[in-house]
């Protein structure tokens, strides 16, 4: 991958929407987490850390571009906060432009990915990096509302789009 983004990805373009940000800045992808001897030792316990959470969300596909959230700098490891002992995770994401209409969808994808991948004991908070989106407050409120998230996932069309964002890239 890593080609210059000229076209958009399938699902959104099918609806005939124009790309809002046709030529975004592209950032590099981090290398795979190096395997340590400690991780290979079956006796030692590894706690859930920021990098592990970041590895869960960095490869989520952007709904508009054939790029990952990491490549668009929508998610960054320094905006991930995790406390394994208190079972809490907080992720802030940064839409590429302040009027990005996909912000809710991106937030939902991150939230769903974390809910599916983390132990049930975790409390998951996903929000927009303060000051980076026009309707920051509204989006945050939607993402924090358990019922609305659940209802959104009942919608099979939406679920399909989310699954597409979460699908492994070829």
């Amino acid at each position: 991958m890593g080609a210059r983004p000229v076209g958009g990805s399938g699902a959104v373009m099918a609806a005939g929407l124009r790309l809002e940000n046709a030529n975004p800045l592209i950032y590099g992808r981090s290398s795979e987490r190096p395997l340590t001897a400690r991780e290979q030792d079956g006796l030692e316990a590894d706690c859930i850390d920021g990098r592990e959470i970041f590895d869960l969300i960095r490869s989520i596909n952007d709904p508009e571009h054939p790029l990952s959230l990491e490549e668009l700098n929508v998610v960054e490891q320094l905006r991930v906060n995790v406390n394994d002992d208190e079972s809490s995770v907080s992720v802030a994401f940064t839409p590429t432009i302040p009027h990005c209409s996909m912000a809710t969808l991106i937030g939902l994808s991150i939230k769903v990915k974390l809910l599916r991948s983390l132990p049930e004991r975790f409390k998951v908070d996903v929000h927009i990096t303060p000051g980076t989106h026009a309707s920051e407050h509204a989006v945050n409120k939607q993402l924090a509302d358990k019922e609305r998230v659940a209802a959104a996932l009942e919608n099979s069309h939406l679920l399909e789009v989310v699954n597409q964002c979460l699908s492994a890239r070829l």
């Binding site: 890593g2 080609a3 991780e39 132990p119 209802a151 069309h157 939406l158």
Partner: protein
């Protein structure tokens, strides 16, 4: 077919009765000589003149079908008559044409077709038939007719001249089917390469083929014809690049396609350009050079794709090569020179930009252009070197210097690519002094990266014959000494090792006078002493010792160096023996390892090999024997040379030396070695005044420090090439057998068992071998039976078992008939209460390579497919044994089976695994981790490749796999989760009913304490979440995308 009379009847059956089988009967009749083709024509008679085209068609169809089966038994007259008939039929109704083409195809394969008829047939074909309005299979017939004639009647067809070309161009114009295109491309290519006359149709032939470029073809799923995009691309490319006469059309086309946005089109264009440059010279290329260079440069500078960059550089190199091969006219300009000037002009300034943004792409382009020929290389390096040298001095930051030095290194390597004539001066000579100064300054830089690339550049410089002066070499060795003995960073040190290896092979004397003394000096100093004045990054004494030992091996690239380094290593071993054991063990093993590397290195060189046989091996044996004899009985603590790991390492050196293919050397010294062990004859050892006799074969009084040296005997006698006869072999075997049954020292009896196995494996087949084996078998049987159940004798049974195991391996490897008997004995032991587990683990040894004996390096008799054979012969028995075994012993069978299954590649197993499936499922419940892991390893590929069979057991699979996700062993948890992941590849109707339950169950491993397990759990659970029913998928595919407002 009964008689001639029934020809008419059969014809009637076919034409009116619509019975297709009749054609075959008639064909058989023709082949057997019971009727002739012309009789069939007669019998068809009225049917061929019938006014109804369908009936006429049926008639011709019959005749064509018969001909396709019988064309080779027709005589010339018949062929002629039939050909004339068919040519005439081409004018008939279009319904008949397909059958006529079939008939002509049959005739075109006949070797007795009269001269001249091929031309007539083709002319008529081109005139009467509009090929592209036919069906695919009929067009295929046309191409087949042309291909057949081109194969057999080239001269006749050439008489047709350009008419043939034109006819074919018209015939293939507009072809769409990939199968036919492959044929049409093949014909076009043969046209060109076999010099058919193209006449004025060069451009037409190019147009009719090039319109498919670049090929974009995705084969339909389950394509039975198996035509790939790759095949079509290569076939078309071979047409387009077949002749320089296409150049004026092809090059503009390629330039145009390079502008495309489609990556595959770019790649195809660049690859085609590379291919055509093999034939193209200045004449063809000249006009398009500026445009081609422009496109290539743009692709390399701008692309994000590595593939395009690689192909672009390859194309540039091909262009430059083509120009290099062009003849230079005396009057006209040198086109290579002009082209390279162009390249230089566009790339040079990027090398000097302060931000260095396009440095690497520019350097790569220049390197590609320079790598075409010696002339191109001289031109470019002559221009680039001063520039790069200046840049290096201008930039002060080490990261920038690193980049420039890296580029310089590649260019220096390039100049090495061509053999120069004596009088041609190395283009590097002019820059040699500056380069040396620059490299040496890099070696003293503080940056690790710069030092590393400096060392590897030094290696490249040093490997150029006659470039560096003696004083340069001396300085080089001093720098390398410093890097090896003082540098803290292992990466730099490794680069220095590599450079030393390369340069020492060319300049041995400097290394003998400078490096060997320095390294020896280091070895003789006390290791713990920390040198004053060095920074915290300086290596400690222990590391320095290890490095010196490794460096001595690394520079032993030349016989004259080896004669200095090996004594130094041997001396070090002697010194170590005097010290106390324990801490030195690692160093002693490392020293042996270095000696082994040197021995491996002089594999081919007779002189060095002799040195090892005559001096090194006796010296090593002497050291070991002395240590053993002194150690026995005295109060002095045993030296480091009595440790098992050190003896094994010594054995590796001896084994490598005796593995050399210099047989006369080996046979001279091996008798001395055998005499040492059998008779205690120490006369050939360097220091042989021993306090006590060396008698390893005198049990039970011989002490273990002596008997364990059997390992060294084994290293020597088991590594010999098959052509060398081991002296006193029978006597050796008897003594070894004795020792194997009586010694209570594990290392001793294992070594003895290995030694027996190594000898038996190479023993020539025949009565003598059989009697030895019978003897061994009897003794083993007695040993195993008499003491069964007697706990006090368990040690003795373990010894016999060890022998049995190694002997079985020796025989299995050489396909000896007795191997089955021995394997059965091992299998019986699986139910033995004392030896069962060991026997199960023993199967791993049978099917895996062992490091020190019975392998290729020791010239063992190893048959190529022995694992497969072992598998087919023994797996059914193991399965049967499993079913009849008691509950206690089942796991032994499963474990043995796991080892055998694991030794074979999964592709080979795929056909066998389904029959073992029930067993594998049962094995999942076995509590042994080895069994669980190996079973999961077998199930994983089955889930991916045999979903139908696996679907039948979905319930069992899911239950057992989920159980294993909470296994105490991390590897088992990971493997079981990978299998849970693979389950999602089964058909939706199988897995969807389980979705909710699995997702629920997989929540638990998400909280595993190991990160690697959580990773697999996340992947598996995510995949299960995204499985949906086909109906759901279908519904969603048709549904419009929801608008933003309705989302939440």
């Amino acid at each position: 077919m009964a008689a001639g009379g029934s020809v008419a009847a059969l014809v009637e059956d076919f034409v009116s009765g619509q019975q297709d089988g009749a054609a075959k009967d008639l064909a058989t009749g023709v082949v057997d000589g019971k009727c002739t083709a012309l009789e069939i024509v007669e019998a068809l008679g009225t049917c061929l003149t019938n006014s109804e085209p369908r009936t006429r068609g049926r008639g011709v169809q019959l005749l064509s079908q018969v001909l396709l089966l019988t064309y080779s038994s027709l005589n010339q007259k018949e062929v002629e008559v039939l050909a004339v008939f068919y040519i005439d039929r081409l004018k008939d109704h279009h319904l008949i044409t397909p059958h006529v083409l079939h008939g002509l195809k049959a005739l075109s394969m006949s070797s007795v077709l009269p001269e001249g008829l091929a031309v007539v047939i083709l002319k008529a074909l081109f005139q009467e038939v509009h090929v592209q309005s036919l069906l695919q299979s009929d067009r295929h017939s046309v191409y087949s007719i042309i291909t057949n004639f081109m194969d057999t009647r080239e001269q006749e067809l050439k008489g047709l001249a350009a008419d043939f070309t034109f006819g074919f161009i018209q015939a293939m114009d507009g072809e769409k089917d990939p199968r036919n295109l492959l044929m049409a491309f093949q014909i076009s290519r043969d046209f060109i390469t076999n010099n058919y006359e193209l006449g004025t149709f060069v451009e037409e032939l190019f147009e009719v083929t090039s319109c498919y470029f670049p090929i974009d073809f995705t084969p339909p799923p389950n394509d039975p014809h198996g035509i790939s995009q790759e095949e079509l691309v290569l076939s078309l490319r071979s047409v387009l690049t077949a002749t320089p006469r296409f150049a004026e059309f092809l090059l503009p086309l390629l330039i145009e396609k390079l502008d495309s946005d489609v990556q595959s089109a770019k790649v195809d264009s660049l690859q085609t350009l590379t291919a055509c440059c093999k034939e193209y010279r200045k004449k063809e290329l000249k006009e398009f050079l500026p445009a081609l260079w422009h496109s290539i440069r743009r692709e390399v500078f701008q692309t994000a794709s590595e593939k395009i960059e690689t192909e672009g550089l390859a194309a540039l190199q091909a262009l430059s090569t083509g120009l290099s091969k062009s003849v230079i006219d005396s009057d006209a300009e040198d086109s290579l020179d002009t082209f390279l000037n162009n390249v230089l002009q566009d790339c040079k300034h990027h090398l000097c930009e302060p931000d260095m943004k396009l440095v690497w792409p520019s350097a790569k382009l220049l390197q590609a252009a320079a790598s075409a020929s010696s002339r191109a290389c001289s031109k470019i390096t002559g221009c680039i070197f001063p520039l790069l040298l200046e840049q290096f001095n201008k930039h002060k930051q080490s990261s920038q210097r690193w980049t420039i030095l890296g580029i310089l290194k590649v260019f220096i390597k390039l100049t090495h690519k061509w053999d120069r004539d004596e009088e041609d001066e190395n283009p590097l000579c002019a820059f040699k002094d500056q380069l040396c100064i620059l490299v040496f300054s890099a070696l003293t830089d503080s940056s690790v990266q710069l030092q590393t690339v400096g060392a590897s550049t030094l290696a490249v410089l040093g490997s150029q014959q006659g470039l560096l002066s003696p004083s340069d070499i001396e300085l080089t060795v001093e720098h390398l000494n410093r890097l090896i003995l003082q540098e803290g960073d292992p990466q730099v040190c490794a680069a220095a090792f590599e450079a030393s290896t390369t340069i020492s092979a060319i300049h041995p004397s400097a290394f003998i006078s400078k490096m060997v003394p320095a390294l020896t000096q280091e070895l003789s100093t006390e290791p713990m002493e920390v040198k004053a004045g060095d920074g915290p990054s300086a290596p400690t004494g222990n590391t320095l010792h290890q490095r010196s030992i490794q460096a001595l091996a690394a520079i032993s690239t030349h016989p004259s160096i080896m004669r200095r380094t090996v004594p130094a290593l041997l001396q070090h071993l002697t010194d170590l023996q005097k010290g106390s054991a324990g801490t030195e063990r690692k160093v002693a093993v490392l020293t042996c390892r270095s000696l082994q590397l040197v021995a491996e290195h002089c594999q081919g060189a007779g002189e060095s090999s002799q040195y090892f046989h005559q001096l090194v091996v006796p010296c090593l044996l002497g050291l070991a024997v002395q240590a053993a004899v002194q150690g026995c009985g005295s109060e002095v603590p045993l030296g480091v040379l009595c440790e098992e790991s050190v003896i094994a390492a010594l054995g590796a050196v001896i084994s490598t030396a005796y593995g050399h293919r210099h047989t006369e050397l080996a046979s001279r010294t091996i008798s001395q070695v055998v005499a040492l062990y059998l008779d205690g004859d120490v006369s050939f050892l360097p220091e042989n005044n021993l306090p006590r006799k060396f008698q390893p074969f005198q049990p039970p009084d011989s002490p273990w420090p002596q008997t364990q040296l059997i390992a060294l005997l084994q290293a020597a006698v088991c590594s010999l090439p098959k052509t060398v006869v081991v002296p006193q072999q029978e006597s050796l075997l008897t003594h070894l057998m004795e020792l194997c049954c009586t010694s209570s020292h594990q290392f001793t009896y294992t070594s003895a068992a290995k030694c027996i196995a190594g000898l038996i494996n190479k023993y020539p087949a025949g009565e003598q071998l059989d009697s030895i084996l019978q003897d061994l078998l009897k003794k083993m049987d007695r040993g195993l039976q008499t003491n069964a159940g007697d706990c006090s004798q368990s040690a003795s049974r373990t010894r016999i078992f060890t022998l049995l195991l190694w002997l079985t391996k020796a025989l299995v490897l050489r396909y000896h008939p007795l191997s089955a008997t021995l394997t059965d004995k091992l299998m019986q032991l699986l139910t033995d209460p004392a030896l069962g587990t060991e026997a199960a683990s023993g199967f791993a040894l049978l099917v895996s390579d062992s490091a020190d004996v019975l392998n290729k390096a020791t010239h063992a008799d190893v048959r190529i497919m022995y694992r497969q054979r072992f598998f087919t012969e023994n797996v059914p028995k193991l399965v049967q044994g499993f079913h009849s075994a008691s509950q206690d012993n089942k796991s032994n069978y499963l474990k043995a089976l796991s080892h055998v299954l694991n030794s074979l590649p999964k592709q080979v197993l795929m056909t066998e695994l389904p029959s073992l499936l029930i067993l594998l499922l049962e094995a999942l419940s076995c509590s042994d981790e080895v069994v669980q892991l190996s079973t999961l390893g077998c199930l994983h590929p089955l889930l991916l490749d045999a979903p139908q069979i696996m679907s039948l057991h979905i319930e069992t699979l899911v239950n057992k796999l989920l159980d294993l996700t909470s296994s105490p062993a991390m590897k088992v948890r990971i493997a079981s989760l990978q299998c849970m992941h693979a389950l999602t590849k089964l058909p939706p109707h199988v897995i969807l009913p389980l979705k909710a339950r699995v997702i629920q169950a997989l929540a638990k491993p998400l909280d595993d304490r190991k990160r690697l397990v959580r990773k697999e759990a996340v992947a598996a659970r995510g995949e299960w979440f995204s499985r949906q029913s086909l109906a759901q998928q279908d519904r969603q595919a048709r549904a419009p995308f929801p608008t933003e407002k309705s989302q939440l």
